[in-house]
Symmetry: C2
Subunit: 437 residues, 2 copies
């Protein structure tokens, strides 16, 4: 299974690529896949991050560096999207990872050939790595569900279905953006509580949400649920996801059919696809459910998933305002959380999503929903952090925020680390708010 | 604007294609576009329906039958999806329609060449005509919103936002199916009112929904709302849409984020794209809002849209059970309704969808939501017709139905007709229920 550790995980592995060893995100034990445009401008293409470099998979394939399953995977991953590569599944992906680890390892026999396939990452542009057929956003961060539910329903923040159903809804795929793309503040229908009628105006309650993104690999046939024991095989990798949210638009529109324009103006993701293999050392048992919580229904229950289907990955959100930028201040940390606070595992999301026969496709994207920690310093959106806009947050610049201001930049980061394993990062998920038109 | 009538609408026009004149759906005044596989099996390709034939656009283009804008449009419409053609917009589409009308008109000089490009429609397979980037389902049938709202909220069936917001939600694009494809009864979490906990089981309350589908043509840029006055230019055509719904799954899962697995197991559409030009004779003013209803906010209000943005198209839903089929009985009409019962126009849906800057893309699909008539014989889903399953419907076979049984086939039809215009049909939207796995 994808949790197995092999030579590619050895924390003692060293790379000949300058800056890769000790790199905070992309040491040789990570090797995430992505789509980039190199400085020569020659079309988007597949690559692998190693330190501050990107290995050009098409160029490496042309140099004859791959054979067998790894060659098949490299050919798919050389395209202008990763959809085909994702669709190949774990076997070819692991074969390619194994070969890439060999090629980039200190002591490799033909460093010159491989070095000729590297680009300076800082000179490349990263793209959304797949053509996203469908994007689904879940709601599995139970502390977020509780905190945000309390804003709207103080007496029963968690609805009766929450602990049975991995709640999710369909999101908008066309407005998923790669990290670094500015996001325009949306206009929409807004009805303040003290107004009789709504008006069409720029959102005054623009928020972010700290989420884990999940990329779907092999698809499933329409009408055929994916059994929970096989659900993990349908996951191609992970990213960070900022589900920008206009709380005032959302509050007025969302009954009875759920969030729509309060979300669909933009969703930002980190561009690298961190593989299940890279995260294997950081798997943990699914945290025990609190006393009194029901067990998952059988179609969501699998011993291996319970034993190792969750992850220990630290998540952070940070804010950088224009004034902070001018003053030379670093981004201010808003929240620190962890993927361990997901009430449902990624495999449970896959099994549930397909439980009615809905077909999955390579390149589908899931969002976890906001992952908040149970502590006050771990609230993964401003709605929670400010109690619905009641209490302002004070920043190191002396500024305050209840919601996001124009020019504000939200930065999400993720980092997996533990003794005996090389750290694995995701790369940033970053976006700046442009003023409304 | 697309409401203009020209020579292609002349009800006196005759076609040399046998069976086209007087054809209930596809006389020469209609000319809908679609994607089909001909009997020779040579890949999906673009075509136009004329009577019981399909004109093969690629073959006609190769025969040199087009020039200028029409040639550009025919090249795009010859592909294996209509996305590029839809993206071209009204100018090329109208040029192609004009030329097709000439080629298929009685008296055309070179009938032999055009006849060589026709296929027998009964021998062809029709496909979903575009790669659907995103599918959005609206809720603009006010009688449906009222009737179905009453089932859940007897005291306030319409929520306060309904008359301000063209309510919509994102649907699942991967499970949109062409007419004729069987649909598997979904399983899902179901919690009867008298049960303490849900169970995972086949849906016992499987329903259909009678909807109009709207195809998006030219897209819009992220961050830039489409003004209501230009919204019509973004519509490529119309179809019928059956939004299959598992009411028991939906009822348990839908709070707080809306419908998800109760809908995503399948959505059936009629395969032909009926153009705005074909429907131009059937445009009507937007029906007056009842006294006391608010005016649309300015971003949804346009004089031309108010004057002619609605349609007079009769919609029908029919049911054929296995027993009826065996007894040689015809399909039984469940409901007759009309697109005039949409509270919002298609242009208002486009303007609203993009009002937050959400980008539209060629080949996006909108559903109207169930369009019910105000009368008892016009309830466009079983939930409404049976008052939430309380009152069974009796069929000509003596059978009764509260919800759909295995083997049941739902058929949607649409027909526009009025004195002084040739009738225009949509082709059927048909799907049969397979038993749960």
């Amino acid at each position: 299974m994808s949790g197995d550790l092999d030579a590619t995980h050895d924390p003692a592995l060293r790379s000949w690529v300058p800056g890769a060893d000790g790199h905070a995100a992309f040491p040789i034990q990570n090797l995430p896949f992505g789509i980039f445009t190199p400085p020569d401008g020659c079309g988007p293409r597949g690559g692998v991050a190693i330190g501050n470099r990107i290995l050009d998979l098409g160029r490496a394939a042309a140099a004859g560096l791959f054979s067998g399953l790894a060659e098949q995977a490299a050919a798919a991953a050389s395209a202008d999207t990763l959809n085909s590569f994702m669709g190949l599944g774990a076997g070819p992906r692991r074969a390619l990872r194994g070969r890439l680890s060999e090629l980039l390892r200190a002591g490799h026999a033909d460093v010159a050939t491989v070095a000729g396939c590297l680009h300076d990452a800082a000179a490349c542009v990263l793209h959304v790595p797949a053509r996203i057929g469908n994007y689904t956003d879940f709601f599995v961060g139970i502390h977020h569900a509780t905190n945000s539910g309390r804003v709207f329903r103080p007496d029963h923040p968690l609805l009766p279905n929450y602990k049975y159903v991995p709640i999710g809804y369909h999101g908008r795929a066309s407005s998923v953006l790669a990290s670094g793309t500015d996001v325009r503040r949306p206009k929409g229908q807004i009805k303040p509580l003290d107004a009789n009628v709504p008006r069409y105006a720029p959102s005054e309650r623009l928020d972010y949400e700290l989420e884990l993104g999940i990329w779907i690999g092999p698809g499933s046939a329409l009408g055929e649920p994916v059994p929970i024991a096989q659900a993990g095989d349908h996951i191609a990798g992970y990213c960070l996801l900022n589900d920008w949210s206009a709380r005032d638009i959302q509050a007025w529109e969302y009954q009875p059919l759920g969030p729509f324009l309060g979300k669909s103006f933009g969703t930002t993701i980190s561009a690298w696809v961190v593989t299940p293999e890279a995260l294997a050392p950081f798997r943990i048992p699914q945290p025990a459910r609190p006393d009194g919580d029901p067990a998952p229904l059988p179609y969501l229950l699998d011993a291996a998933d319970q034993a190792g289907g969750a992850f220990d990955v630290v998540l952070e959100s940070l804010l950088l305002t224009p004034a902070m930028r001018e003053a030379g201040l670093p981004p201010h940390r808003l929240a620190v959380s962890n993927t361990r606070y997901m009430y449902w595992t990624a495999a449970q999301m896959v099994a549930h999503h397909s439980s009615n026969g809905c077909n999955l496709q390579p390149g589908d994207l899931f969002g976890s929903g906001t992952i908040s920690a149970p502590t006050a310093d771990g609230r993964g959106c401003l709605l929670e952090m400010t109690f619905g806009g009641r209490d302002a947050v004070t920043l190191p610049s002396g500024e305050t925020r209840r919601f996001l201001a124009d020019g504000d930049e939200v930065i999400l980061r993720a980092r997996a680390e533990k003794p005996g394993a090389a750290p694995v990062g995701f790369g940033e998920c970053r976006g700046r708010v442009l003023p409304a038109l």
